[in-house]
Amino acid sequence: MTAIAMHSAALAKRSLIKTMRTPEALIDVTIQPVIFLLLFTYLFGGAIADGDRHAYLQFLLPGMLAQSLAMGGVALGQNLNADIEKGVFDRFRSLPISRAAPLIGAVSADVIRYLSVCVSLLLFGTIMGFRVETGVLPALGAVALSIGFGLCFCWISVWVGMMVRTSGAVQGIMFLLVLPLTFGSNVFVSTDTLPGWLQAFVAVNPITPLVEAIRGLLVGGPVAGPLTTTLLWMAGLLVVFVPLALRAYSRRA
């Protein structure tokens, strides 16, 4: 293993130890998505899907995966911001390691959070009556795609975490971004009910192809097209936000 991979692994282990020590920090990727799932299925589901709650659950759960993953990255930026404020990162910066290692390590450890999102939603969804209609392999593919997207999307949060002064501000800014992206998409409703201008936004929203791809992989439907678009978006997120985050980290005094 190269030095940067070893250092990142050591730092990822640090983040995992912290996560294990404070399980309550996993609420936003376990209980919270489940509460959203319950809320939308039983409170709005009947109205939205004309009484057919099961059909709505089949429609909603793949979308909930996407929304919870986008929100799941917010905590990462907050944690990194707190690390900087507490001086923990000064110690890392005074060590002969790559400047990228602390960020790569922290992002890698976030896999456990995105996996938690997938497991909680699929497990609890199954109890509520959700059924995978495709097969084990496509379902695993949906989980892999979800986690992969989470790992790319969270670099926005990392960048914001490097730029702003407090971890509260990280949350505020990220919610301003994540809420329009996830609600202004095909997560909760079929997009043909939306006004034209909103449909235009939904069409260019990266959450839309992600949700389509996950839906295809879990309950059937077109996969190849939306999957390709999603993978391009993921690459784009990395190309833009990894360098931005690294530069902000290096510049932060």
Binding site: M6, A10, I17, T22, K86, R91
Partner: protein, 337 residues
């Protein structure tokens, strides 16, 4: 009292091994000129105390030397390596303990130190061994498996210092290592610093405590408003700023008039002996400002000739407090904190 290092009469002109050397460092944050042309030099194997009030630029200077911050202007070398050109190599040579304990509170003592070891390319086993060794040395073995957030302030500071020593650095930067510690804990830390120096490390420490600089530093740099306003040994600084005082306490208080008369004979030009009447000082002694150590040599035979028995006979240098006030024009110590 620590011995005065050799050759201190010619601090800046010396060509001997300088482990830290900085020239003309400038750094501006918005409208604040944090460093306004700072020169620093520290000889290998010594302790350099950087002394100054809050906001004087001490921390900024340390952050530049520890490669955390690029100066706007100036050059700096640590262990002979250019801090600006080869920061990565400098990081192999240094240990840093920041103003705020920078251990990870959620990790245990041993996890914190093993992490640093791994980041310094030690194998898992070696990192573990080094961590155990340091924890034992810092008297933290019993707390090794507890999260650092359960540690007391002193324990956390020790762990933080241990973390900066994992890589056995040549140069250790301690940014206000004892701020907020009670006096007993402070002396513990001083012991640790002395041990490090005894084992060959060079230590640059910043402090607001004059007492700390006096107790630990071989040389002191006084910083104020981003500028170095003095660089000398502690004794040299005291000598430079304030004169020395000779104090005599006769065994029989009735002999005080004789003592005053004899002290006047050795007084520095334009001064006279006086009774110690300052608040807090025990009465029954007299003091006089003197211009050199020779006053003592003259006084002792004179006292003997007059058969004055004394219980106290001492040459006092001014405290660093007084030195600092004289240098910075500040009035009271409280303003420093």
């Amino acid at each position: 009292m620590r011995a005065v290092p050799a050759g201190t009469g010619n601090l800046l002109g010396m060509t001997e091994d300088l482990v830290v050397r900085a020239e003309g460092l400038r750094k501006r944050f918005g409208s604040t000129q944090a460093l306004d042309g700072v020169d620093l030099s520290m000889r290998r194997g010594t302790v350099l105390g950087v002394l100054g009030p809050n906001g004087a630029g001490k921390t900024t200077a340390v952050r530049v030397l520890a490669t955390l911050l690029r100066p706007d202007e100036g050059r700096a070398f640590v262990a002979g390596i250019d801090v600006l050109k080869n920061p990565r190599q400098v990081r192999r040579k240094i240990g840093l303990t920041g103003q705020y304990a920078s251990v990870d509170e959620d990790l245990t003592g041993v996890q914190n130190l093993v992490l640093i070891g791994r980041l310094l390319d030690l194998s898992g086993r070696d990192a573990r061994r080094r961590a155990d060794e340091l924890l034992e040395w810092f008297d933290l073995s019993e707390a090794a498996r507890r999260p650092a957030k359960t540690y007391s302030g002193g324990m956390r500071r020790r762990l933080d210092l241990a973390a900066s020593l994992v890589g056995q650095p040549e140069v250790i930067f301690l940014d206000e290592p004892t701020t907020g510690l009670d006096p007993a804990k402070r002396e513990d830390m001083w012991g640790v610093v002395r041990t490090q120096v005894a084992s060959g490390a060079s230590v640059l420490l910043t402090t607001q405590y004059l007492e700390e600089a006096d107790a630990l530093a071989d040389e002191i740099v006084v910083v104020n408003h981003g500028k170095v306003i003095a660089h000398d040994t502690p004794d040299g600084l005291k000598r430079k700023v304030g004169g020395q005082t000779l104090r005599v306490r006769p065994a029989d208080p009735a002999r005080l008039p004789d003592v005053l008369r004899l002290l006047d004979l050795v007084a520095a030009p334009g001064t006279a002996a006086s009774l110690d009447e300052a608040a807090g000082s025990r009465p029954g002694a007299a003091s006089v400002p003197v211009s050199s150590d020779e006053a003592l040599d003259k006084l002792i035979p004179a006292l003997r000739a007059d058969r004055v028995e004394v219980t106290e006979l001492a040459l006092h240098l001014p405290s660093l407090d007084e030195v600092f006030h004289a240098l910075t024009g500040r009035v009271r110590t409280e303003e420093l904190v």
